[in-house]
Subunit: 348 residues, 2 copies
């Protein structure tokens, strides 16, 4: 690439300038010093009283795990996974009072829903990039458990499973954890993807994402694959070193994935996030699962995971226009990540 | 407010959770220490050779100012305002080669356009919050000059005028400056506002923004007004302490504003940004002008300025869903800003 390019997302009305004139290399983003907040970790074993009671714990049982919960004041101590309500929820469960609609407001509704934390390991630093695969299989299973329970509620229209890693990416606690938020509406970005992929399907009788996958698997933005998953840097990457992980089998949501897919996803998380970690010295990042909220979208939607390294700042232009500037061409990002992820895989 | 609220923007399909359960006060955002990058400032007088030649300078002349430019190797030294190309442009002027469309890409176009810097003052620290009003009048006039010249070009579909203040808000140089980027398309957020306000106008024969202004002027989110402008915290503020500045007279763009409006905008910038500065100890922020790109939108669009303090981080939930969580109810923000801005006005 010799000139800046303006790219539009596969489906979204989202444009990105791939700005080669100020192109950056991985080393430009590597921070030498990392600060760490001191203090007692409320997610570490022994501190269970510092958080609300768990609605789900995995505890060792007969060489496998048993699902249970904290109740009647009792708190499990020997857990492998611990799911708890967020102490400061953005969305809160429906109460006894009826929802109110306030006059004199363009659009008002109570933020009804759930906001939970999945503590991924009793070991403070067992982040996916360095975790043991069996532990990551527990993590993925916990995602599925929470998704299944929460999406069954009538007032839940979407379940967002996301992870913030590092202070700069919004993680106020450094203990390995994922968050789950349910919304009483379909979020904008998911809604736009659903609409565009539905239109594509009506016109072409094909899943747009399946076609994207076929194209990207064979191209310069390919990063890695295993039996069930493909990782690639998306064409119109918004963030430097952004990558997406797609299941090879067309499925619209995480429910009903096979045991093989769960294990393969655990491996994908480990090697892809491990590659990102080794390439950029454990950078802050966010990830979010994108899933179809309804069965009616099962033909045209294809669930996936999007990973956004947090290496730059969105400033006045991005925030006031919704247009993004990315200093790393996704082809460069993929080349660097490909090598780093392959090394991680060899280390398994 | 006793429970979290879910609010939708006046016009955009943009939702925000006003999260009172983790509500923050102004003092929670005040940073005690500010770092400052050392080194030579390329925007300071005497260092004009460190930047490209200016396409516009204001120089003192007969007690007023004269417009000129650098040419034939000559660089003006005694400027009051200096407009230069950005050394690392996101968008670049149209070249001799024809635009190419690459096959095998969903949507590709060269990032054709302009990316400029308006150096707001020869004095390094003369940011709007502390500037002299006559200097701020020059700044506003420079916005108008660049807007007029750039928007006349056939390949320019939108002119974004925005400001990044502070390292955390993306300002890599601390000398007072604004940036201008032109895009060969109408940006998403502007396009959505245009569409929604057009629909409102067709239905109600009224400018949606004029109605918003009437309502907000009389309500709990009002902050400040002078003869020509009103500042308020928007109903569905995305950012803590976000505020918008609207002209009282319906106009779709900044062109054709009167001398009185220019002076009143200079005052609005000074007292509103001054209030923000004093309330939160000179926080990082971004601002962006929203204007209609075409005359055909003059009935229904209403130009304005949006100011986004940079006090929190958008994390995995925001980035993967397009839904936002704001820890400061705009009513609280307005109450605090109202007092702070009034103090600034008294100090004029």
């Amino acid at each position: 690439m010799s000139a800046n390019e303006l790219r539009k997302d596969y489906l979204l009305n989202r444009r990105v300038v791939i700005a080669v004139e100020r192109r950056r290399r991985p080393t430009d983003f590597v921070k030498k010093v990392r600060e760490e907040k001191a203090g007692v970790c409320p997610f570490c074993p022994g501190n269970e009283h510092m958080t609300p009671a768990a609605m789900l714990v995995y505890v060792p049982f007969n060489g496998g795990i048993r699902r249970d919960k904290d109740q009647n004041g009792f708190r499990h101590k020997n857990w492998l996974i611990r799911c708890i309500p967020n102490l400061y929820p953005a969305f809160t469960p429906i109460g006894k009072k009826k929802q109110v609609r306030v006059k004199d407001s363009p659009d008002f509704v109570k933020a009804v829903g759930h906001h939970e934390v999945i503590v991924e390991s009793p070991r403070h630093d067992e982040h996916p990039s360095v975790a043991q695969i069996p532990q990551l299989v527990h993590v993925v299973n916990a995602y599925l458990d929470r998704l299944e329970e929460l999406s069954a509620k009538a007032y839940v229209k979407y379940v967002s499973i996301f992870r913030n890693h590092g202070l700069e990416a919004g993680a106020s606690l450094s203990h390995a954890h994922t968050q789950v938020i349910t919304t009483p509406f379909v979020p904008r970005i998911i809604g736009e993807e659903l609409g565009a992929s539905r239109r594509y399907w009506m016109k072409n009788d094909q899943c747009a994402f399946c076609e994207i996958l076929t194209r990207e698997k064979a191209g310069p933005r390919f990063i890695w694959e295993n039996g069930s998953f493909v990782a690639f840097a998306p064409w119109a990457s918004v963030h430097p070193f952004e990558f997406w992980v797609f299941p090879k089998t067309h499925k619209s949501t995480l429910e009903n994935v096979s045991r093989k897919e769960i294990e393969d996803l655990a491996v994908a998380l480990k090697v892809c996030l491990g590659g990102l970690r080794s390439l950029l010295n454990d950078p802050p990042y966010n990830f979010g699962f994108h899933i179809a909220p309804n069965k009616k979208d099962s033909n045209h939607y294809h669930w996936h995971l999007e990973v956004y390294p947090k290496l730059t700042v969105w400033a006045g232009f991005e925030k006031s226009t919704g247009v993004f500037i990315n200093l790393v061409p996704p082809e460069d990002a993929a080349e660097n990540l490909r090598e780093a992820v392959q090394k991680e895989e060899k280390g398994l």
